[in-house]
């Protein structure tokens, strides 16, 4: 299990992060990771609905107040629920979501390795 955890952490660190000093870039990035709650499957960034427009303003203000990206996410999570975050938080509800694919990957590898191991034993 420890390996899985380390693996997961590494893969999280290794993800595409376009952190730019630019505030607008951060703003856009946050907006892209938020679901527009009144739309059908659009992000806040992609939507021009009133909800999205006001939320973009909220993000802008929060950045100017000096909140970090993570703080803004958790602020919005408390206000609107986890539904708004496109990047699901790693907690007891989502252990399976994050770990099951990795476990499947490891199991697949184990099956392939076992094939060769068994064959060698037969020889």
């Amino acid at each position: 299990m420890r390996f899985v955890h380390i693996f997961l952490i590494v893969s999280i660190i290794l993800n595409f992060n376009f952190i730019k000093a630019d505030e607008i870039k951060t703003e856009n990035k946050i907006a892209k990771n938020l679901r527009c709650l009144i739309c059908q499957g659009q992000s806040v960034y992609d939507s021009d609905s009133e909800f999205a427009i006001s939320l973009k303003l909220v993000i802008k203000n929060k950045i100017q107040e000096g909140m970090s990206e993570e703080q803004i996410y958790s602020f919005l999570k408390i206000k609107y629920g986890e539904w708004i975050l496109y990047d699901p938080v790693f907690n007891k509800n989502t252990y399976f979501l994050w770990l099951l694919p990795i476990l499947i990957f490891l199991a697949g590898g184990a099956i392939i390795i076992r094939r060769f191991y068994n064959k060698n034993n037969l020889d």
Binding site: F16, Q40, I112
Partner: protein
Amino acid sequence: MASFIGSYSLGFGLFFSIFIIFFSIINLKNSEVLDKKIISFTFIQFFFVFISFLGLIISFIISDFSNETVFNHSHTTKPLFYKISGAWGNHEGSLLLWLLVLTLFISIFLMKSNQQPTKYRIFTLLFQQIIIIGFFVFLIKTSSPFNYIFPKPNEGLGLNPILQDPALAIHPPILYLGYVGSSIIFSSALGAMVTTHVSKEWAKHIKRWVLASWVFLTLGILLGSIWAYYELGWGGFWFWDPVENVSLMPWFALTTLLHCILVLEKKKILTSWAMILSIATFALSMSGTFLVRSGILNSVHTFANDPERGLFILIFLFTLIFLSIFIFIFFHSEEEKIENNFFWLSKETSILVNNWFMMYFLSVVLIGTIYPIFLEVITANKISVGPPFYNKLIIPFLIPFLLAMAIGPKLNWIKSDFKDKFYMIIFLMISFLLSALIIREFNISFLINTILVTSAFFLFFSTLREFFIKRLKNLSQNIAHFGFSLLILSIIFNNIFSNEVITNLKIGETFKSEKFIINFENINQENGKNFKAIIGKFNVLYTDGSSDTLNPELRIYNQPNIITSEADIKTNLLTDKFMTMNYVQNQEYFNIRYQIKPFMIWIWISVILISFGGLLSFFKKRYEI
């Protein structure tokens, strides 16, 4: 009148299933030769469904609003092309299209499989008939396209304008050809298990069906993606939207199956795995239909839904899955021990590695798509699984996948070694230097980007070399793999180097950024057949002195009364320039979204290359037989 004929011929079509099944069972008991009557009846069934489909199209063309489907989805002012495509742009019509392709494919199957054992052909036909009957009943019971309305309305409700688009007109038929092709693979796998025909010959014969479905599925996904790019107005081509995922999952399964079949046609190993994949591909296609049609998924694409229909598909799906599990357990026998020896470094292993990663990608997409649904049912917690999730779980795994993809095809069957493979190390170094340079140049100092680009370049160069060294040998595979490297490179560069602004402008105003100046010159009004268009004229001036004129549109459709935003896209080989405009409520401002997207066209070109590889392989086999 056309609806009337259509409705009745649907009934006749179902009726012929009885004959087909009856004569098939008699044939199974009595004779070693396939009864000609069965083939004729299969054709007649196809013919009736075809008439029915034609009836629906004609009802759409003549705007016969006494037909409920036409009333709900058409309008007299709609252009003829979209009247026709409207026939399958809705739930009822698209199911009729499914049925049409189902009956067409089984007819083609019977014609093309005369070198296969008779029993196997009959069993395949019987299993296909189960699916066909299921769809007939589904169509007639819950979603008849020929419901009659009295009194006849004078005007229809119209088709959702975002569906009035050439790419989306042909997207469903192409995608369905892929989906339904997998039904033949499914029935054939069951038929082969029952008659113990799972063999190299079977693999050779079914490979063509796998390839054909795979090409259609690939192109179908591509068309949907292109449509989303220019029509939905956000400039992205893939959003990891549940409905997109649903089409991607059978694609993963089918791609895995395709590679697995390559081994199976050489020697009889991995048979159980091939059977599981054949079943899984079709199950995923069916559950895709279920998830989309039941309205469980929250998505931009959810156009029509109804719980009763969802329930029917769910029951039907489970019946088919149980049937196939039953057959797999009781009829399938594993006899692979004899030929099962290959060295760890061999083409067989590399294909296993392909299967391994493909299954992983499939599981990521599957879990990401359905987990939120289960979580909500069980704990009432609503979570979203979006692009960040998929990026995190897929991108790191792409690196070994790309490397394996470059090395795998160069290995020999059974046993291989690293002799004469030193050029690979050189390629790897060149790729690394090249990507390090590019990534540094653009000031994105991220390790992952460099490694990812390196592995993509490595595949790119390795496949490029093959074109010169091996020329026509393995050309199809090489084109497809080359296309994949190009796809990954284009997506990464597109992602990294995209440049976008969103701003509100009035007529006459300008927007200045470091790299360009946008000038909102004026707006014009034009009238289309069923919409009024407001066309903006924008001039974009770049720092290097060049300029572009872009004319994004707002369309106000008459029926249904919906405003859509049409992007204006200037495409050339290096970049796409993409502009949309939208109303800002109660103000004279327009919301302008301007994006510079490098290598956009290469994403489409590489997917076309990938499917072209499949197409080539499809025709190559024909000459060899």
